[in-house]
Symmetry: C2
């Protein structure tokens, strides 16, 4: 008789749709010991996700829970405590998937969406189980980058919110709760704020793509990997964020008002940025860049956990 | 008879004014083997910088070049190939210091300013040696964070620009050249673009300071420590930055236009941000946070150098 390991005692979860984000979620849950039930309308996508997942497990060299391919939404939700949905980013598609999930899943199952743009109020509008529907938006790829934005809709219950935060923490993610919906949530608003100014600086000829990127990857980004903008401001003056925003408040406000207007993303500008980015990255592939990024981010997050 | 090590053969450089930035520059140059001549109007500041420098050297456990305290500007520039100026951030102060430096330094000495805001055209306007004056603006602290913004004034020579880039590379920094002056250069424009949206999101109640920071330090920042905004965009779609800006161009442009207006930095808002930041960082000191940041950034940059 074999005694089940702790890992096999964790309840199964479902991953619905498995592109780059979905397969990464599979890794998040299996690594934490949850058996995963996987469904995607494309059998090829599921097979590809399994191959990728096996490679990741081999690289990690750690025991891992099983992945079960499923034939339908009704099949994938069978016996799971959590569904992570990663379907197409359109309200119609999400509403159809959530209607099917809500009809098929046991009443206690949390239905979480990886949507980066949509409001759960709209996705779950007509559902009997709207109270158990919630946004859990990861940063790509979630098995490497821990932050996950959490935001309910109008009818999402407090219990669902609390269970979502608890579950995400338990699998090693960092849940970040929003108090209300705004387009782009926190993550994409902050990302777009940076890239808007970045594009404008290149477009107006202040510097090239490589220079703008260098200021981030060899400058600002080294601090932002450890502290957010408030944490950075707090260390930028001995009196902390209060002194920083007071003593430098005039020049900060002046710069805020001087930021560039939104550049028009014309095909010519996109091609110009594309050529400059090609020149910057050289002949490495996107896959090689992602693999390097994921390896270093994993080491960095391990380092942060060791030292805080 | 002792043979001088390679390090002792490097030419001396001068560091003028040694607050947090100046003392960090001392470490940059001594670590690279340059003897440093140091002058600050405050003898106490020089002594404090020496103590700090000795601690840093002890931590690094590597041989290091000497630091010579000097009595005046005329003294500090004696025999140096490079001056790194870190005086007060006002045009009047910089003009006075640069006039004194230009009058005293040998004709070939590069006069570099750490200014984060001023235009070298204005600082060096009336100087005979305007051709050898240049901005070399570091990220705090430069002995840990490599990016340095490089920008000449109207009269800065091509030779000065080329020698500046070469010198900064030789001491282990990453020079980032701007083509023309804009307020805030690249670095502070990008930093302010992020913090503007960050403050606005907190002010309007979408999330708290800790949540906004978490999205950066456990999310976006982990990528930005390795890739700038264009590098990230290039890995966010299989077709690279072109596909990213084309396929998601509509929603990116929509978000760009939806970004928050500049928040007014009222005393009430600053106090609210201060309290929330206090709660986030707990009872750690700014010095402890900086020490942790510097240690991790040093390990991260070493990791990046090993793997690229």
């Amino acid at each position: 008789m074999t005694v089940p390991s702790e890992a096999t005692l964790k309840p199964p979860v479902a991953v619905v749709a498995c592109g780059v984000i979905g397969r990464s979620w599979v890794r998040v849950f299996t690594r934490a010991g949850h058996p995963v039930r996987l469904w995607d309308p494309s059998r090829d996508a599921m097979e590809a996700a399994l191959v990728w997942h096996a490679e990741e497990c081999a690289r990690d060299g750690r025991p891992t829970a099983a992945v079960q391919l499923c034939a339908s939404i009704a099949d994938v939700v069978d016996g799971v405590v959590w569904v992570q949905e990663n379907g197409p980013e359109s309200l119609e598609a999400k509403r159809a998937i959530f209607a099917a999930l809500d009809a098929a899943a046991a009443p206690d199952t949390i239905l979480a969406s990886s949507t980066s743009t949509l409001d759960m109020t709209a996705i779950a509008r007509d559902l009997a189980g709207a109270h158990r529907c919630i946004v859990a938006h990861p940063v790509n790829p979630p098995h490497v980058i821990p932050a996950v934005e959490v935001l309910g809709g109008e009818h999402t219950s407090e219990a669902t919110r609390a269970r979502t935060v608890e579950m995400l923490r338990a699998v090693g993610q960092v849940p970040v709760e929003l108090r209300r919906y705004v387009p782009g949530f926190l993550l994409n608003r902050l990302q777009v704020a940076l890239i808007r100014e970045a594009i404008a600086l290149v477009e107006s000829g202040v510097a090239g793509v490589d220079e703008v990127d260098a200021v981030v990857r060899d400058g600002l980004g080294l601090r932002w990997a450890l502290m957010g903008p408030f944490g950075v401001a707090n260390t930028n003056a001995d009196g902390g964020v209060r002194e920083y925003l007071t003593r430098f408040g005039g020049s900060i406000s002046g710069l805020m008002d001087d930021l560039s207007p939104t550049p028009a993303l014309s095909p010519e500008l996109i091609e110009r940025l594309g050529r400059a980015t090609d020149a910057m990255v050289g002949d490495t592939t996107a896959a090689a860049q992602r693999a390097w990024r994921d390896r270093l981010v994993a080491r960095l997050t391990a380092l942060k956990r060791e030292t805080t």
